[in-house]
């Protein structure tokens, strides 16, 4: 068989494909929607960010919420306000695969099911936090001796809204919005008792702001981040993070990255503070 015969052969199959009009209008409309959502809003400022950076706290689904749980603001809310950068205020580093395996108990694929505001009125910093219910779809990685068995569903306390109902997002990370899938590194977090903050009970929590990756369609970097639709674009992920390294990759590559993660540099594998009573 020569080149021409091969071409004729393939054309015989191609000619049998039904003729479908090109959906140009739909594609352009979708493309514009993606571009609109990709536009970033000017950062509000570190002061506001600091009031909500304690978010992304996970509670076991079996633990009841405290306080009122009013409905979420209208779906017609404006574009998210992206605040902050980096992870200086976080308890654990979560940028790399080594960070993940050093401290996490589990790495999971989770689907966000629903969300609720955690208060009627903004906290003193001017924001309303949000709880998001997550179904655990798949466990990707487990510490050899995890601190606790993982429930089948958890509730996340995440960034919510400003006092004027503008969605808040932390720069370069997902807000965790219903309808989307995420890869999340979870850790069983000890209670926190800071002098000027309300006590936090022992609970499941993402390792940090870089421990939540968009994962729609089973691909890293696809789905929701900063409250906008992302499609695995090179500039969406923070530099040096696992998300940047695994953009457009599947669970196979994620598993490989976690398995091959170099051991932490001269640090103990996991140094959690002892449990405390508030």
């Amino acid at each position: 068989m020569n080149d021409e015969e091969a071409t004729r052969l393939l054309n015989r199959r191609a000619d049998d494909v039904p003729d479908v009009p090109a959906p140009v209008t739909e594609v352009i409309a979708t493309g514009r929607a993606v571009q609109r959502q990709n536009r970033r809003v000017t950062a509000l400022g570190v002061a506001l960010a600091a009031t909500v950076v304690g978010g992304l706290v996970v509670q076991q689904a079996t633990i009841g919420r405290t306080g009122p749980t009013p409905e979420v603001p209208s779906v017609a809310a404006p574009e998210p306000r992206v605040v902050g950068s980096g992870n200086a205020l976080e308890r654990w580093s979560s940028s790399t695969a080594s960070d993940w395996v050093r401290t996490s108990d589990y790495v999971v694929v989770a689907h966000a099911v629903s969300e609720q505001a955690l208060a009627d009125q903004p906290e003193s910093g001017g924001s309303i936090e949000r709880s998001v219910e997550l179904d655990i779809k798949k466990v990707v990685w487990t510490r050899s001796k995890p601190a606790q068995p993982l429930p089948s569903a958890v509730t996340v306390t995440a960034f919510g809204w400003t006092e004027d109902n503008v969605p808040l997002a932390w720069s370069g990370t997902p807000r965790i919005e219903p309808g989307h899938d995420y890869v999340i590194a979870l850790v069983w977090s000890p209670a926190q008792c800071s002098p000027n903050d309300p006590p936090e009970r022992t609970q499941w929590t993402p390792l940090g702001s870089h421990a939540v990756l968009p994962f729609d369609n089973a691909r890293v970097g696809y789905g929701e981040s900063e409250g906008r639709l992302v499609l695995g674009d090179a500039d969406q992920a923070s530099a040096g993070t696992l998300e940047e390294r695994l953009l457009d990759q599947s669970l196979t590559e994620l598993r490989d990255a976690l398995r091959d993660a170099p051991p932490p540099n001269g640090q103990e594998p996991r140094t959690l503070p002892p449990p405390s009573t508030c």
Binding site: T7, R12, R13, D15, V20, A22, P23, V24, I28, L231
Partner: protein
Amino acid sequence: MGHLTHLKGRDALGDAVSKDDEFAEYMTARWRPMLHAAVLLGCGHSEAEDLVQVTFTRCYVKWDKVVRADNRNAYVSRMLLNEFRASRRRRWWQERPTAEVPDPAVDDVASAHAASHAVDRALRRLSQPLREAVVLRYYSQLSERETAQVLGIASGTVKSRLSRALEQLSNDSHIKDLTNGRHS
């Protein structure tokens, strides 16, 4: 492009309209060949439509890069191939539409389609690397060098893959039936 009238009205910038016109012209011209290439790579018809639509959406979002590419068709073929491979990677845990019976019996289809199914079966017997090389070179009509660039392999590897693929296709019983006139 008449079908873009209502979209144009929303544009404040002339260059956005110009971009849309340019994109629409390109997509209209390339829709059918891309659809065919997706089917030849191994997609069902409806899956191919979805795949090509997603590819063109990405193409629209990255249009500035697409127009700067040395070979636009090769660049977009690469995007299609990436989407196709990604769709295959996620098959193991994500359900896919199954609108079509995978391997219909020849006796059950019209004779006009029998040849097409014979080619389809022969292509399925090729390994995926060989099949991708065949589709890009002999259907998309990329040069061996362009095919190598799209696949990310050396030109010599493309040559050897094409050689092996043609040998396998020549010896395939379905293709032999086809060339002997049974399906023509």
